[in-house]
């Protein structure tokens, strides 16, 4: 029998500690939509998405009310468009992005991911066309998210793609200059991208996924932060245990919501992504969890160790609560989307170098970072290369979502709005990486790829 304490604890988590289901994301395969004619292909894509996801938002809202837990986002991920569009007789894939945007608006989801290409070993004709279409695609759509996988532990790092992505990010920023380069907030460069990630902007429906699937991303930095307040001064064993128990509860919530949504939509349930995803709201910050462990400010010495423990404990607690855990699963550290990170970065204590170290031990990478508008494409490529190297060697996902905000300099602030938040412009090294990036080629896969 449930007791009153348990019940009010749950309600407190939801009402006071920002516990929510961050996203239910429907993955839809578009592989059967390929057609040589662009218009036919786009029509088939539009029809399929609007048919499959017709009830997604309504079902999500019903479940929210019945369980009394907010489901913040309802989203869609699709097969990487480079694969779907490859057989079309066209040079620009922008119409596909517009189709995705239209479909997203029709069904009422706030983001649709999958304007993507997987080029870790090299580009096909379609991959290249897609990548070159990204700046315009992101400038002329509102809800489309794009990602490009440039490296993996198995394949190494495609340095030609890394070089190209530096230029693409610059172009994307230029085309969305009126909004501080907002397009770049919808563009992720990955190493070891996962196929079942429900979180944007990096979600796409991988080639090994079923026809249609429902993935759930849970969140709750505020709940973890609050739980840690009750173990002040205790050893790390106790801290880890507390995080595990909290993560278990949060994940169970995701599991039950996912099961229910999948049953009602008649779509198989994929995975729960047990991530601590912050928002710009006060009390929903990962940085504040690290500070609760005893660090004066996030970004000082000790931050990496604190984050490593947090990330690991979240997984350990969550893994038993769900029958399939997947996606990125860990702690996110997007600077602009985390009130504590913003504060630490604005004070100059949290730097790009420390963030890079933190990405070695958390679930993703350099996320939602604003850099000066005059940062060169080569410098951005070099930042991507560093991150990809960390992912490749550590067999983990890393990503770069960086905004070279046009006209902005260090100390300025970039406003993205909504869940994307705002980011202080952080300094980068001005010295040249041109000779490094212009080499091109491929960084060979590391020894740890040879597991057979």
């Amino acid at each position: 029998m449930l007791n009153q304490k348990d019940i009010f604890q749950t309600i407190d988590m939801i009402e006071q500690r920002h516990l929510d289901i961050r996203t239910i994301t429907m993955g839809i395969s578009l592989r059967d939509c390929a057609h040589p004619d662009v218009k036919t292909c786009c029509d088939q894509i539009y029809d399929k998405i609007t048919r499959r996801a017709e009830n997604l938002v309504r079902v999500g809202e019903d479940i929210e009310k019945e369980f009394g837990i907010p489901i913040v986002n309802k989203r869609i991920s699709v097969t990487p468009i480079a694969l779907v569009a490859e057989s079309c007789r066209t040079d620009s894939y922008v119409p596909f992005a517009q189709t995705l945007d239209r479909a997203a608006k029709e069904v009422g989801v706030n983001f649709i991911g999958g304007f993507s290409a997987l080029v870790q070993k090299g580009c096909t004709v379609g991959d290249r066309k897609l990548i070159e279409s990204i700046p315009e695609a992101l400038a002329c759509t509102d809800r489309v998210c794009s990602s490009v996988n440039v490296g993996s532990t198995k394949a190494g790092i495609n340095m030609n793609a890394v070089a190209l992505m530096g230029q693409i990010i610059k172009k994307t920023a230029a085309l969305t200059a009126d909004n501080d380069g907002l397009g770049c907030a919808k563009l992720v460069v990955f190493c070891n991208a996962v196929e079942d990630n429900p979180f944007m902007a990096g979600a796409f429906h991988g080639v090994g996924e079923p026809e249609c699937v429902l993935n759930v991303g849970v969140s709750g930095p505020g709940v973890v932060h609050h739980a840690l307040k009750s173990v002040k001064g205790q050893p790390f064993d106790v801290v880890a245990e507390t995080i595990k128990q909290t993560a278990f509860r949060i994940t169970r919530m995701g599991q039950i919501v996912g099961n229910e949504a999948s049953r009602r939509l008649g779509v198989p349930f994929g995975i729960v992504d047990l991530s601590l995803a912050p928002t710009p709201a006060v009390g929903d910050s990962v940085a504040r969890i690290l500070e609760e462990m005893g660090l004066e400010t996030c970004g000082i010495h000790g931050t990496t160790a604190a984050l490593a423990m947090l990330n690991d404990a979240v997984k350990k607690g969550g893994v038993m609560a769900s029958n399939h855990v997947g996606g990125l699963s860990g702690a996110f550290i997007p600077v602009s989307e985390d009130e504590g990170m913003i504060a630490a970065a604005e004070s100059g204590i949290l730097t790009l170098n420390k963030l890079e170290a933190m990405t070695c031990v958390c679930s993703v990478g350099l996320d939602m970072i604003a850099v000066p508008g005059d940062t060169t494409a080569e410098t951005i490529s070099a930042i991507i290369a560093d991150e990809a190297a960390i992912g490749m060697v550590n067999s983990k996902t890393t990503a770069v979502r960086i905004i070279p905000a046009p006209g902005k300099v260090v100390g300025d602030r970039v406003e993205m709005g909504g869940l994307l938040g705002s980011a202080p412009v952080m300094p980068v090294y001005g010295q040249s990486t041109v000779d490094f990036i212009s080499r091109g080629g491929r960084i060979p896969a590391p020894l740890q790829s040879l597991k057979n």
């Binding site: 449930l2 009153q4 348990d6 019940i7 009010f8 604890q9 749950t10 309600i11 809202e61 019903d62 479940i63 009310k65 019945e66 369980f67 009394g68 837990i69 509860r249 169970r252 919530m253 599991q255 039950i256 038993m320």
Partner: protein
């Protein structure tokens, strides 16, 4: 199917009556009630059976919330499974 109703707010005459009348209106059966008043604050938890409810659960939750608002109370109706999931291994 069971649901949990929680009511929190400043104590006043007729809270339980009001909630029960509203539930009865939609054919919801009350199975268990526990209630306390702490420092003038009323806290109640009810286990109810919504199997025979005359309106969909999502709508019922909204109705109860509105009933609460009219009396300056926080009334929530949530499916029981969510609490079971969180607190039972």
């Amino acid at each position: 199917m069971k649901a949990i109703v929680t009511v929190v707010g400043k104590d006043q005459v007729g809270i339980i009556a009001g909630v029960c009348i509203k539930l009865a209106e939609y054919n919801v059966n009350v199975l268990d009630i526990s209630q306390t008043v702490m420092q003038g604050y009323f806290t109640m938890m009810m286990v109810v059976d919504v199997t025979e409810a005359t309106i969909p659960l999502a709508q019922l939750a909204v109705e109860m919330e509105q009933e609460g608002k009219s009396r300056n109370l926080s009334i929530r109706l949530q499916r029981e499974d969510i609490f079971e999931a969180m607190h039972r291994v």
